[in-house]
Symmetry: C2
Subunit: 284 residues, 2 copies
């Protein structure tokens, strides 16, 4: 696996691949890779001639009081995992390479899809995500890009960007990977104390209960939300940021009685750590 830090070197690699008619799969990450990322790299490996993984803690998607500085960075471990999963090239640029000017060119998806859920408390987050992904899509000229459904809203924002700007990339959305006890894999799980980690299990547990109710026929939106809210609130260490439900895909508002598929998503703090999790309620 090639490890590359410079844009020029990446572009040379991409140009060679393109000339040979090879398909390129992309997995963009902020590093601190875990089994969730690994599943994306493996999926890309299956469907493309070439797999590129990026490791870049993107400053523009962090708010001023968020964990940009603290975000775990461990490129050596990441390289080993990416290589083991079959990546051909790992691209780990410096922030100055990705943002050459202080005055930015932004790609911004506006409206409902970026205003709900995480958009309520992280107003600049998705602008940063869309901008950096647009850059990586252009840099790698990827045919397919792989995202985990743990960041469900992110996948829908990027889907909107790709459609609206007619980008020539197919987004492949992959299921959430969980620990054996149900906790969704996240690079931020390392922040959790032992106690917090145990308390955080309420997320996957309550979402599973809502799914169960849905599968048994419950279609009332508030009833489903209440199952999750009540169970999380019973956990003393939890501090709910949101428990919300939207149409999936697209995240449009739902009627009181759900008809198609829905996303039930939560963001909850345990101590200083904000975790997100979700479940897709599939009508069939």
């Amino acid at each position: 696996m090639i490890i590359c830090h410079e844009i020029g070197e990446l572009k040379d690699f991409v140009r060679r691949c393109k000339k040979e008619g090879k398909s390129i799969g992309l997995v963009t990450t902020m590093g601190a890779l875990h089994e969730g990322h690994a599943s994306l790299i493996r999926a890309a490996r299956k469907e493309n001639d070439i797999v590129i993984t990026t490791v870049f803690v993107n400053p523009t998607q962090f708010g001023p009081n968020e964990d940009y500085d603290a975000y775990p960075r461990r490129l050596e471990k990441d390289s080993a995992l990416a290589e083991a999963c079959g990546a051909d090239l790992l691209f780990a640029p410096a922030p100055s390479a990705m943002y050459p000017h202080e005055e930015m060119t932004w790609v911004e998806v506006t409206g409902h899809v970026t205003m709900i859920l995480c958009g309520r408390t992280r107003p600049i987050h998705f602008r940063g995500v869309a901008t950096v992904c647009a850059k990586f899509f252009n840099l790698t000229e990827c045919d397919r890009a792989y995202y985990g459904l743990k960041d469900a809203q992110q996948t829908q924002v990027l889907q909107r960007m790709v459609k609206d700007l007619f980008m020539n990339v197919e987004l492949r959305l992959m299921p959430i990977v969980r620990e054996e006890d149900g906790l969704a894999k996240s690079s931020r799980n390392v922040y959790l104390s032992q106690e917090e980690r145990k308390a955080a299990l309420v997320l996957s547990r309550s979402l599973a209960h809502a799914k169960e109710a849905f599968q048994k026929g419950e279609r009332n939106k508030d009833a489903l939300l209440t199952i999750v809210k009540n169970e999380i609130e019973e956990e003393p260490m939890s501090d709910i940021n949101y428990v919300e439900m939207y149409e999936m895909p697209g995240l449009a508002e739902l009627p009181e009685t759900i008809e198609g598929n829905a996303l039930l998503a939560v963001a909850v703090r345990f101590g200083k750590t904000r975790l997100i999790d979700n479940v897709i309620l599939e009508a069939e």
Copy 2:
């Protein structure tokens, strides 16, 4: 020449061209084609296997009190000219095709380059231009895109977008085409009364005088600006919007004494019609 209105048809055409390894040159226009556009299409013809011209009066680059509705539309004439200049395909989409959602994904170049000159009075203009050009670049997968230096600021904004987002397109900037009497070709010239048209000649005349002074060694910024301002102000029908000067390329602020190349640009109203013109002062 193929005339095409649907995105699906355009994408099929582009895919076929790409499969055959053909290079694609793009000329994006708002129609009402004149010799300026023709020179761009001819330049694209020389440098590419395939030439695509777009005709689209882009609603998002017009302010609420601007001439979106009045903007001249004449697709038949445009088609004939584009074909005569060697275009292979003319793409004329409906606004609903280019903007499928009411909630937009914007591409926005921020900072100095979009705040000066036309950015002062047209605050949303360049966001609309950048967004629609990003869409056309992605739709056509063009290798080169051609823009006239009459819209000098637009060329620099797009250059910034392409660099910042690492777009895989080369911008080719072409000289201003003028009427025999010096008036810069513009689709908006049709708005001018005979008297206004005559009065508007002061733009090219005054810019030529500034260039003359520059070539004779004048390097004082204010002195050069004053030549142009005074001469335009002497014309009773003129109403100056701006007369400004910046570094070229890039449009950074200039010191009082100019060292490299500079853009001297003007926007002036004659009656209801706002015209722009400029000259590049080249140090060598």
